[in-house]
C-alpha cells in the first residue's frame, strides 16, 4: 500500500502523519516525525474525512444577477468574469480598488504568490491576511525586542528541558494536544509548569501553578512579577548589561506595580503573585510562552513586551532551553507572515518601505522597484474600508472565512456586502463564500504539495497523497490564471517546487531566509529551520544564542504601561466576555464542522455556577449574550473552572464574533478578540 508522509491540515504544530491509500486515504501514525512522534488529536485522525466530502466544491460558482443565486460556471467563464470586472474597476478607481485577503493556513508558496499577485500583477497595496488576527501582537513585540520574530526561537522539544515553563493565555492541551506531552515530560524531569488563564483549562489542570487573572490584565501581571524580581534583587545584572539595552527605564516603571496594586487590577491574590515570583526567581531556566489569550488585545503587543521584559530581566532569552516564544495558532501562521501577505512586508520579512528590500524583490520578480506599491491597510482596517469611497471595491479572498472569524462580524459582513465584487477561493461553501459573487473551488492539503512553516520555524513539506476531485484547481493555478488575465507583466509559476525556489531567491538575505532550503532537504531532514541562507547551511534550530537580531546584537527592553481593555464592564454590560477554541473544532470550522466524527454541539456560553444562579439559568438552558455590537443565543455551560465575572464563547461558529470588539492594537493592528463587556440573560 502506498503511504505518503505529510502533515495535518490544521494547527501550527503541523503534526507529521502518513496517508495510506490513494483513493480513500487513511491517516496513520508517522512515529519518526520529531514534533509529534506519531501522536495526533482527533482533528488529525479524522482529517481525511474532508477529502471526499459531499460538500466539496468542484465547479466555479457565479452569482446570477437575475436570480441572485450562485450558479455553476466554467473556469474560463469565471476567471474571465473576475478579470473583466477587476479591469473595469481598476480603470475607474485605480489599482488600490482591488483588495486581497489571504490566510495563515495557506502554504508558503500560495502566500508568496498571493503577495506577488497583489504587488506585481494588480499593483495594489491593499493586501493583508487573517494572520493579523492570530499572532501579530507577538510578531510585533518580538521584532521590537529581539529584532526578529520567529514564533519559537527553539525546537518545541526544548520545553522539556527548561526549569519553569510559563504559558500565558495558551490552552495547548486543547488547541494543539500533542504539544501537551512536553508539559508532562518536563514535570517528570522535575520542572514546573505555570498557566495563566481566566479559565482553568485542561492545560491548567496539568500545571503546577495556575493563576486566573481578569481578562485583559496579563500585562499588569507581568509588571507585578518584574517588580518582585527587582525587589528580590535577582535581576541578571551581567546579562542585562551585556546583552540588552533600556532596562533602567523599565526598572523605574515597575516600581509603581507593587503586589497589592497588581492584585486589585488583575484579581490575582498577592500570595499567589508572590509564590509565582518566587518560583521564577529560584529557577535557573525560565521559558515564557504567550498565545492568543495574551496577544489578542488592543494592548496585545505591549502585553507580550511586558512578558519579554520579565524574561530579559531574568537573563533568559538567547540562552539554551529558556527565553521567550509565541505559540503560533494557524497551520502556516509562521510562514504565512514571512512571504508577502502582510500589508507592510515583502518576502523574507523584508519591509515594504525599505528601498533595498524593494529592489531585491523587484529584481527577483523582474519588475521595476518603483512599480511596487507601498504599505496597505491592516486586515481589519482593510475590511472596514471595503465599499467606502476610499476603500477597495473588489476583494479576492484565499483561505479565510472572514464572516465567522473577523471581529465585529456583523459590521464586517455589511462591508463585504457593500463590495462591487467579492471573489472567494475555498474548498467548501463557507459562510464567506456563500456571500461571494464568484466562488472558485480549490485543492486542499492532501491534494496538493507545498511547504508549511510550523510554530518552531521548521519548514515542512506537505506532500500530495491523493488526486483532487475533477474540476478543482490549486490556488497556484488560480493565482496564475488571474495574473495572466489581468495582464501581469511577469509570469506566475504553478508548480509548487518551482514557486518555492523562487520564494527562496526572494527571501535570500532577508531575515526569514529560505534560500538554502529545497524539497529534498526537507524530506531528508524532517524539516529545515530558517534562517537557512545556503544549501550547505544546517538551518537554525536555536536563535539568538550568539546575539539578537538588532544591529548591535542586543535585545531591547520597552517601557509598557497597563491600559486595560478598550471596553470595561459597566452597569449595562456587567461581565467580561472572552472567546477561544475547543478541541474538536478548528478556527471558523469550515473544515471541522463538516466532519461527522468530530463533536459539534454548536456554540455554548461557559459561565460559573455563581453567575448562572444570579441569572436564574442552569446548565444546558439557552442564554443570550449581548454586547454593544451584537447578540447571540446558545446553551449555558455551567462550570466551576471559569472566573465568576467572565463568560466564554468559542468562536468556531457564527455568533461569537458578532460580539467581539474591533478595537485595534496600535502597533500590531490586532483586534481585541479576547475581552469585551457583555450582558447575559436567559433566552
Amino acid at each position: 500500500m502506498t503511504a505518503t508522509e505529510t502533515h495535518c491540515p490544521y494547527c501550527s504544530l503541523q503534526c507529521g502523519m502518513r496517508l495510506e491509500g490513494a483513493r480513500t486515504p487513511e491517516v496513520v501514525a508517522w512515529e519518526e516525525f520529531p514534533v509529534n512522534r506519531g501522536g495526533l488529536c482527533r482533528k488529525g485522525w479524522t482529517a481525511a474525512g474532508l477529502l471526499r466530502h459531499r460538500e466539496r466544491l468542484t465547479r466555479p460558482l457565479v452569482r446570477d444577477p437575475a436570480t441572485g443565486e450562485l450558479a455553476p460556471a466554467t473556469w474560463d467563464a469565471a476567471l474571465d468574469l473576475v478579470a473583466g470586472r477587476l479591469a473595469a474597476l481598476r480603470a475607474e478607481h485605480g489599482p488600490d480598488t482591488v483588495g486581497v485577503f489571504g490566510g495563515g493556513g495557506l502554504t508558503n508558496e500560495k502566500a508568496y504568490q498571493l503577495g506577488k499577485l497583489a504587488r506585481a500583477a494588480l499593483g495594489t497595496s491593499q493586501i493583508d491576511y487573517n494572520g493579523r488576527w492570530c499572532m501579530s501582537s507577538a510578531a510585533s513585540a518580538g521584532t521590537r525586542a529581539f529584532g526578529l520574530d520567529r514564533g519559537l526561537p527553539f525546537p518545541l522539544a526544548d520545553l522539556e528541558r527548561t526549569d519553569v515553563l510559563v504559558l500565558v493565555g495558551s490552552n495547548l492541551a486543547e488547541t494543539m494536544p500533542p504539544a501537551a506531552r512536553h508539559l508532562d515530560a518536563l514535570r517528570e524531569r522535575g520542572g514546573r509548569v505555570v498557566v495563566v488563564d481566566p479559565r482553568r483549562t485542561p492545560t491548567a489542570d496539568r500545571a503546577d501553578v495556575f493563576v486566573q487573572p481578569v481578562p485583559g490584565t496579563d500585562l499588569a501581571l507581568a509588571l507585578g512579577l518584574l517588580h518582585l524580581v527587582v525587589a528580590a534583587g535577582v535581576v541578571d545584572e551581567e546579562y542585562v548589561a551585556t546583552r540588552t539595552s533600556g532596562f533602567d527605564d523599565v526598572k523605574r516603571s515597575v516600581a509603581a506595580w507593587w503586589p497589592e496594586r497588581v492584585e486589585r487590577v488583575t484579581g490575582v491574590p498577592v500570595p499567589e503573585l508572590r509564590a509565582l515570583a518566587r518560583l521564577l526567581v529560584d529557577a535557573e531556566r525560565v521559558m515564557v510562552l504567550t498565545a492568543r489569550g495574551a496577544e489578542q488585545h488592543a494592548t496585545g503587543s505591549d502585553t507580550v513586551l511586558a512578558w519579554i521584559n520579565l524574561a530579559l530581566a531574568l537573563g533568559q532569552p538567547g540562552t539554551p532551553y529558556a527565553g521567550y516564544g509565541c505559540l503560533t495558532g494557524q497551520g502556516n501562521g509562521q510562514g504565512g507572515r514571512e512571504h508577502g501577505q502582510k500589508a507592510d512586508q515583502l518576502p523574507g520579512y523584508r519591509m515594504i518601505d525599505d528601498p533595498a528590500a524593494r529592489a531585491h524583490v523587484a529584481a527577483v520578480w523582474g519588475v521595476d522597484p518603483d512599480t511596487l506599491p507601498g504599505r496597505g491597510r491592516s486586515a481589519y482596517e482593510l475590511l472596514d474600508a471595503l465599499g467606502t469611497d476610499s476603500g477597495p471595491r473588489a476583494l479576492l479572498v484565499f483561505g479565510s472565512n472572514i464572516v465567522v472569524s473577523a471581529p465585529n462580524a456583523r459590521h464586517v459582513s455589511e462591508r463585504l456586502d457593500a463590495l462591487d465584487l467579492l471573489v472567494v477561493a475555498d474548498v467548501v461553501l463557507s459562510e464567506t463564500a456563500a456571500r461571494a459573487d464568484v466562488v472558485l473551488p480549490v485543492t486542499q492539503w492532501a491534494e496538493e504539495t507545498g511547504t508549511m512553516t510550523n510554530l518552531e520555524g521548521r519548514v515542512l513539506l506537505r506532500q500530495r497523497a491523493t488526486r483532487a476531485p475533477e474540476g478543482v484547481r490549486s490556488d497556484l493555478d488560480v493565482i496564475a490564471g488571474l495574473a495572466e488575465r489581468v495582464g501581469s507583466p511577469v509570469p506566475f509559476a504553478t508548480d509548487p517546487e518551482e514557486v518555492f525556489a523562487e520564494l527562496g531567491r526572494a527571501s535570500a538575505g532577508g531575515k526569514a531566509d529560505y534560500a538554502g532550503i529545497d524539497y529534498s532537504r526537507i524530506r531528508a531532514e524532517h524539516g529545515v529551520f530558517w534562517p537557512c541562507p545556503s544549501p550547505d547551511h544546517p538551518g537554525t534550530q536555536r536563535m539568538f544564542l550568539d546575539g539578537f537580531a538588532h544591529p548591535d546584537g542586543r535585545a531591547r527592553f520597552h517601557v509598557v504601561e497597563h491600559r486595560g481593555p478598550a471596553e470595561q464592564p459597566c452597569a449595562d454590560y456587567p461581565v467580561h466576555l472572552t472567546t477561544g477554541r475547543v478541541l474538536g473544532q478548528y478556527q471558523s470550522g469550515a473544515q471541522t464542522r463538516r466532519l461527522r466524527d468530530l463533536p459539534d454541539s454548536g456554540p455554548f456560553v461557559e459561565m460559573h455556577p455563581m453567575l448562572a444562579r444570579r441569572l436564574g439559568t442552569a446548565d444546558g438552558e439557552p442564554v443570550t449574550v449581548a454586547t454593544r455590537r451584537g447578540a447571540m443565543t446558545a446553551a449555558a455551560r455551567v462550570v466551576g473552572t471559569i472566573r465568576p465575572d467572565t463568560v466564554f464563547v468559542p468562536f468556531h461558529w457564527v455568533g461569537a464574533n458578532r460580539l467581539t470588539n474591533d478595537a485595534l492594537d496600535p502597533a500590531s493592528r490586532m483586534p481585541e478578540f479576547k475581552v469585551c463587556a457583555a450582558v447575559v440573560r436567559p433566552a
Partner: protein
C-alpha cells in the same frame, strides 16, 4: 488654558509624580514647576515598610529620576521647602526667599504623622527623643533601619495599618516587638472587634505582644509607661498613631480646610479655583482617604481638567491592604461606617473573619481577615459595582470546594480521552493499556488521560494494567 500657563506643584510625592506623568501623557503645554522638600527623587512611599521588613531594596523605590523631569521640560526643585502661598500676588515663597509666580497652584503636600500625647517624646529643645521614630518618609525609614541592628526591643504606638506593618517588619528583622493600641481592638478604624481579635491572635502567634485599650503616657529611661500601669522596656518607640492631611500652607493662605483642604469636582479649592489639591492633603465630599489609588485618580482627573478635558472627580472606591508578612487583611471601603446588609463569616478557629456590606446587590464595603483566597474576585465585583444575586455574597465568603476527581466512577458515556474522543465505556471494554492505545487511540494525543485510563482499567481488573 493659556499656552504658557505657569503651573506650580507643591510636593514631590506619589500624587505629584502621577500628576506630572498624566500631564506629560496628555501633552500639557504649560510650564510646570515641582517643589519637593525632600532632597532626593520621588519614591514609592508605600513600600517603605517593605524596605524596613527587608523584602524590598531601597533603590527599587525610585519612581522618577530627575532626568525624567528635565527630559519633559518640568522644572523639578528638590530640597525646596515652601514657606508661604501668597494668593494675592499669585506667588509661592520658599524658605530661602525665592518667589515663584503661578497661574495655577497644586498642593500635593501629603500628610504628616500625628504625635500622640506622650510625655517625654519631645525634649526641651523640641527634638524627638533619640529612641523615638516616626515612619513617613525615606529619611524616617533610613533612620529606623539604622537603629534596628542595635535594638533588642521595640514598641509600636498605634495598631492601625501602618503600625501593624512596621511591627511585623521589626519582628521579621528580629526585634522583639510590642504594639500599643489605644482603642479596644487592632485596626479599629477599618474593622470590627472580631476582625481585630483575629489579627491580635495572629500577631501573638507571630510573637508580637499586643496591648489594646491602653495608651502610652510617658517615655522614661525605664521604658514606655502605659495608662494601665505597665511599663514596656524598649530600645525603640515607633509612632504610628495615624496621620493628618498636611494643610498648614493652605490654612495660612486662607483656603478653606476641614480635615484636609476642601476641594470640588476638579480638585479645586472651594475658596480659590486657581488652587488645587490632590492626594492625602485633599478632602473631597468629607473624605480624605490617605491612600495611593484615590490620589492617582485625582491626579488623572486634574491633569484632564488642566488640558481641557471634562473629567470630574466623584470620589474613589478604596481598598486598603495590609502589607506585612503573615498578616492577611483587605478592607474595602469603610465597612464599619457604611449602611447596608451585612453578610459575615467568622471562624476564630481558622483565624478568619470575612464580612461584606451589600446595598442593592452591590458590595459597598467589606473586610477580609485571615483568608484572602477570594480577594481578587471580591475587589473586582466591588470596584465594578456588579449587582449580585441574593446568594452571591454568602457564596463569595465560603471556601471554594476542591475539585473532585474520581475517574473510576465515570459513567460509560463520559469522555475520557478528548484527543481521540474515547468514552469510559470503550476503555473499560479494553483488556490492557496497549489495547486501549491501539484500538481507541486513547492516550496517544496529548497524553493527559493516561492516568484516568489506567484507573479505569485498574478498577475493572487490577491485573490488566
Amino acid at each position: 488654558m493659556s499656552a504658557h500657563e505657569r503651573l506650580v506643584v507643591v510636593g514631590n510625592g506619589m500624587a505629584s509624580v502621577r500628576l506630572c506623568e498624566e500631564l506629560v501623557a496628555r501633552g500639557y503645554d504649560g510650564h510646570v514647576t515641582v517643589l519637593g522638600d525632600e532632597a532626593g527623587p520621588a519614591y514609592n512611599r508605600i513600600l517603605l515598610s517593605a524596605v524596613l521588613e527587608g523584602t524590598h531594596p531601597l533603590d527599587a523605590l525610585v519612581l522618577r529620576e530627575p532626568g525624567w523631569y528635565a527630559g519633559h521640560g518640568i522644572d523639578l526643585r528638590t530640597g525646596a521647602r515652601v514657606l508661604e502661598v501668597d494668593r494675592d500676588a499669585a506667588e509661592v515663597m520658599l524658605v530661602d526667599g525665592t518667589r515663584i509666580p503661578y497661574d495655577r497652584l497644586v498642593l500635593a503636600t501629603g500628610a504628616i504623622p500625628t504625635l500622640p500625647p506622650i510625655r517625654g517624646l519631645v525634649r526641651l529643645d523640641g527634638s524627638l527623643h533619640p529612641a523615638v521614630h516616626t515612619f513617613r518618609s525615606m529619611a524616617d525609614c533610613l533612620r529606623l533601619l539604622g537603629a534596628v541592628p542595635e535594638a533588642g526591643r521595640a514598641v509600636v504606638v498605634g495598631g492601625g495599618l501602618l503600625g501593624l506593618q512596621v511591627a511585623r517588619a521589626l519582628s521579621v528583622r528580629g526585634v522583639a516587638t510590642e504594639v500599643v493600641e489605644g482603642t479596644d481592638h487592632l485596626l479599629s478604624r477599618q474593622v470590627d472587634e472580631r476582625g481585630g481579635a483575629v489579627l491580635e491572635r495572629d500577631l501573638r502567634r507571630l510573637r508580637t505582644e499586643v496591648y489594646t485599650g491602653s495608651r502610652a503616657v510617658r517615655l522614661t529611661d525605664a521604658g514606655l509607661r502605659l495608662d494601665n500601669g505597665f511599663t514596656l522596656e524598649t530600645d525603640l518607640v515607633v509612632l504610628a498613631a495615624g496621620g493628618r492631611p498636611s494643610t498648614a500652607l493652605a490654612r495660612r493662605a486662607g483656603l478653606y480646610c476641614r480635615r484636609g483642604m476642601v476641594v470640588g469636582r476638579h480638585l479645586e479649592s472651594v475658596t480659590d479655583d486657581r488652587v488645587h489639591a490632590i492626594g492625602d492633603c485633599a478632602e473631597h465630599a468629607g473624605r480624605a482617604p490617605g491612600l495611593v489609588p484615590p490620589a492617582w485618580e485625582q491626579a488623572a482627573v486634574l491633569a484632564d481638567h488642566l488640558t481641557g478635558g471634562d473629567a470630574r472627580y466623584d470620589g474613589s472606591r478604596t481598598v486598603a491592604r495590609l502589607r506585612a508578612t503573615g498578616l492577611d487583611v483587605a478592607v474595602l471601603g469603610d465597612p464599619e461606617r457604611t449602611d447596608g446588609e451585612v453578610v459575615e463569616v467568622t471562624n476564630p478557629i481558622a483565624r478568619t473573619h470575612r464580612k461584606l456590606v451589600v446595598r442593592g446587590g452591590v458590595i459597598v464595603a467589606g473586610t477580609l481577615v485571615g483568608d484572602l483566597s477570594r480577594v481578587g474576585l471580591i475587589t473586582q465585583l466591588y470596584d465594578r459595582r456588579t449587582v449580585l444575586g441574593p446568594h452571591e455574597p454568602g457564596e463569595l465568603l465560603m471556601a471554594e470546594r476542591p475539585p473532585g476527581d474520581s475517574s473510576t466512577l465515570l459513567p460509560d458515556d463520559a469522555e475520557v480521552c478528548a484527543c481521540a474522543g474515547v468514552s469510559a465505556g470503550r476503555i473499560r471494554a479494553c483488556a490492557s493499556l496497549e489495547e486501549a492505545r491501539t484500538t481507541t487511540r486513547a492516550t496517544t494525543g496529548c497524553g493527559g488521560c493516561t492516568s484516568a485510563v489506567r484507573d479505569l482499567l485498574g478498577a475493572r481488573d487490577p491485573a490488566a494494567v
